[in-house]
Symmetry: D2
Subunit: 392 residues, 4 copies
């Protein structure tokens, strides 16, 4: 049950908030607010406990995670008292963060990543390791034949070529090292057919894509509301103002396009048609780790009457993402433990752009997730399945 | 299958919009936007068709419904072309609207109401009649022993006393005349134990209370969103600015209190705790038939991070209510036809303050409603149940 | 005092709303809401009356203005009763709308424009004509030496070259025909040094640029508020969602860039520094003639405390622009009559991107405008200056 | 030039923020953001410098101001580093805070207040003292003949009666002790004819009422915008959600009524008519020292077109008020020094409900303030008046 969580982007805001939070939960310093696996309907003895989690990761940045944690505290993302209360625990995590390996040949980079993962697992005698990508969003890569076919990919790598975008190289390394993988960002990650093939071959599961942390979460309940009331949504337009590291990165048109597409998918799939309008992402440095999203929805009702709704969401992305990182790691590790492999469509509740063809409506995703956790329990404990618990 | 819809408040905005809409649907002049019984998952041959509906009602106001319809068209609530396209049909409905009977003894008023309902049913050879209360909101009545016990109520009425508020007198008359009843407003209506007893005795069903048309609809999907994400809602405060007849009426403190309580119930029952804050209702004549609601929600996430959301809803209450009136009448009539009596908790989807102890989360209410319609089908057609249809 | 108003884009929403409004004001059918020259402080006998105004114009579109007026009435921009009340008056204006002249050589196009203006003036025995550009926004033109020097411009035109963007060709024609000119759009229009030279040579005045109709109007009072309270604006970001003809046009990146720059100028010039953030313009067809703008302002106060403000503006651009078109035409014609020529910086109150170096704060622009009208009065009537009237 | 600032409510949020800010400004630790007397147009050598200010005050609360400052830092109102940087300075202010005197006869209470003020002035060898009321809002008092006539008031006090509400007792004491007075709250304070008479007799000036810190500030620029554009405001409705001590107090209906009336005055006086709608104040404990105000404005433009605007203001009242307290104290002290007495209508810029009959439009109030400061300069330095400086 000892479970490693290997964070790609380990010194970033989401990763450090996840680490501080897990350590604080283990120490009993905070309530598990925001952790959905702590709700009565999802609490499960099959999931690893917070005391069973060991953290490590890769990052190109050199800032110590204590420094990052202090900066997050100053920005209002987490309480300063937690940083001062956990010096030894944070130092232990610091020891497990590695620079991103550099090599001319991508195959060599991947081999070094695999070695880091394997060494981490052995050093801490972990039952299994989940690799979670929480690094900055990449632009979409140029197509390559190796993306669609595993044999072609392996062949191309032997030539020394750089075939995969970084997020996919991490997925490749994870699968090769026998680790499960969580795509928390809109980057390519595991979403290449060649990597799906590899995951199946190595018998490891993976989850994704793109954590549903704010405005899309709201969309995933409001869009079904309009649909269930047979109201016709005419336009849905929005703007996301965000600062912080990911904000600057998403202001790049290529990354922006990947993210915006991910954000609008929910509308077409929930409403059955695509209303007019777009979601714009704009970088505003001053906003820092908080994000302000504004959406305007115009719709018509009975006899065509024109009506409208607006909402503003002012959320802290790191605080919204971090508990989901812990939830996903615990669930994916348990899926691995109970013998699952390949895409975990049952985790759609957590993602903007979920794997598979499941529903985009949050409540339907919730029902699927509840059933999945019950099944994990059953598989972990045989006949002794705990009964489902209703969420009050 | 010929079904009467008897509207209490037949010359009001909601009633006239319902009538114009039903006539326009029958004539094929409009799409059934806003009618939830027209969604694939709820469409059912057991429900009466629009051509099977016959309208009548009571009102104290003298304004002809054509005049009211023209005023609604001028206010942007419905298209003027529908009013000009349906002169004969509207005149036929006009013929079936009766003044509210006046008498010194409430028992005599009720008897006159029963006579009007019975005459309406016979004149149009209707299979059954649904009485729908869409009149102005009343203040809560003073308690009376006759409210809790049917025998006491009947005894009190024989003395000539006025025991029931008007909305409850209509419910009493409806049940006595063998009609089902829909409480579309927050007024007392059928929600007295004595009337529940009467409905059971007369073998008629009833539905209520208080149609969920706007801000509460939004609450019923946002509150579960916060709950499913284990986010802690700290405050939920709002203001409703509304004009029109019901606005002026709700500005009366007593009616306001009834409505505001109905609006906040969803929070406690969905979240499991009551956040700080209130919903204020304010009358602003200039806003007319449209309503603007603004809500501020503050919540905390992982490690206590403070976040917030605001929304503004700008809706036309009559346009939101009217299709639900048609849905409810069709569903309640079918419940009656298939032998149901007493409170229809399965219709909670439509109400702010639903009968019974069912869920307040819109998606859960939706699932209940779908199952109910399937069962109505089964009961209406025996073994030949149409298969459930998934809502895309 | 007979004054012609020649509208470039005469069949567009702004032009037709201006025409219907002026005719309705002349007929006493409406109040002059939105007309600032009707406020006590600006009312002046020196300005031409509504009965003195004669309309004509150019347009490439063939739709009759009555049809356009009916469409505007259907969209809620103006009351249908006005269109039906003014059939003869609208027909008279229709007679004075000319197609845009076509010719291979731009010099020939300009000559035809001049002929149209001269003929209009003679036919109606007008004392003077104001040309107002209310056509769709153009992209910025490629630079040309003829833009900065009148002699070079005239020389280039003799070669048959197309040197000027259309809006500037209209300004050139207006000045040549002895007409004053109002730049109501962000297009180039008169803002070329060569045209400034021409206006001075021909002794005609001009006003511009870009009518301040909505969000920028709000900025021009909120930005001074922050400045006068010594509050530090950190970011000011916004999005404009607009439909209608100009919306589609402004969605073109080049036109968008011209407009967005014009919208942000007020911030730098009022605050003394440029806060972070942008104004995005997005086309949403469904919104039609109305526009929704949302702005987020973050600012810091005493000891650096972070605060914020949001606003949403839901306005009808044509209804906001049309009365200003009438105001500007009346003021510019009077400036012409009283011997003024060249740029009228005193009209900055009306523009997003005003001529000259005056203040961008609305109240300061208002004070300048009041003084200007007093001076027009003095110049028109000699010593018999009416006393200033305080605006209540 | 040594100037005392005596704060009524010296341990409250506004007072402590003012004190920390003044000490930090003196120490050069912060910029004077929010201080309008630091703008180029208002900077004046006639005003006392921050190093010339000495603080003291009354409060019923026992919490040390360092504790209050730490709580404000934790709530995000001011930076914690300032509290830790100024321990000795804060201790010195602590020494000058006195409990509110208690006595059976109001005359004795007033005498004790006078003694405290006189002792403070002598102990610190101050040239003059300004008393500033920043304590919690009181309900309006019952009328008393002594309120309108000074002789009657003095007579009534000799009987031992309690004639004045507490805020007016402070004003009485201030004037008697030869101190000027600033009414920063909506409480009665100096706004009784008898106290106006006393101020004139004692030759001391006073300023008020009710500091314009947030939503009313926005109204004072938006209302003139609508007026200057001749747009007809139909409704202006709002809600203020606020926590903190003053929030709980304002939730009391009597105090609420006083405040709400003060907030709407600006509309009638700026627009020339009173639009429909109200401003509600609601206490929401969780919001703490920050306030969220939402306003909806509906208006009509040319030809009656209906339009609307909404804004949300999320401000920290203490951070908005504190620099104005310093500005007002410096200006009022200088008015006193230059021989002014009675009501200072020229300070209307700072108040929701200003003394006198001046304009409610912020820019007009600003112009009046600028002229006033120039005159203070002239009076303080004779002929050597510094030239006016333009605000960039």
């Amino acid at each position: 049950m000892r479970t490693g969580i290997w964070l790609v982007g380990a010194r970033g805001s989401v990763a450090v908030t996840s680490v501080v939070g897990a350590l604080a939960l283990r120490a009993g310093l905070v309530e598990p607010t925001g952790c959905v696996t702590e709700l009565p309907a999802l609490r499960s003895p099959a999931l690893p406990g917070y005391a069973d989690l060991v953290f490590g990761g890769h990052d190109i940045a050199p800032t110590p995670i204590v420094k990052k944690a202090e900066a997050l505290a100053a920005a209002g993302v987490l309480p300063a008292r937690l940083v001062t209360a956990l010096p030894d625990e944070l130092a232990s995590v610091e020891d497990e963060i590695r620079p991103v390996p550099a090599a001319a040949r991508q195959a060599d980079v991947i081999a070094a990543l695999v070695a880091d993962l394997t060494s981490f697992r052995h050093r801490h005698r972990l039952d299994r390791v989940v690799v979670v990508n929480v690094s900055a969003t990449e632009p979409a890569p140029a197509p390559h034949p190796g993306h669609t076919d595993l044999a072609a990919l392996e062949q191309a790598l032997t030539t020394g070529a750089t075939v995969l975008p970084p997020s996919s190289a991490y997925a490749y390394a994870a699968f090769t090292a026998g680790c499960s993988f969580v795509d928390f960002t809109p980057s390519t990650g595991a979403r290449l057919p060649a990597l799906a093939e590899l995951a199946q071959r190595e018998r490891v599961p993976y989850a994704g894509h793109d954590g549903k942390t704010g405005e899309t979460l709201v969309k995933s309940v409001l869009a079904p509301m309009f649909a269930l009331r047979n109201l016709k949504v005419r336009t849905w337009s929005g703007v996301n103002l965000l600062g912080g590291g990911d904000g600057a990165n998403l202001a790049e048109p290529a990354a922006n396009a990947a993210k915006a597409a991910s954000k609008q998918r929910v509308l077409g799939e929930t409403l059955g048609y695509v209303p007019q309008g777009n979601t714009r992402i704009e970088y505003v440095d001053d906003i820092g780790d908080f994000k302000t999203a504004w959406d305007l929805i115009t719709f018509s009702g009975f006899l065509g009457t024109a009506m409208r709704m607006e909402f503003t969401w002012h959320g802290c992305d790191s605080a919204l993402a971090a508990p989901l990182v812990l939830d996903l790691a615990r669930l994916t590790a348990t899926a691995h433990r109970t013998g699952r492999s390949g895409p975990l469509g049952e985790l759609a509740f957590f993602f903007k752009d979920p794997l598979g063809t499941g529903p985009h409506s949050l409540p339907e995703q919730w029902a699927t997730l509840c059933a999945f956790v019950r099944q994990l329990d059953a598989d972990a404990f045989g006949a002794a399945v705990p009964p489902p618990v209703e969420q009050g």
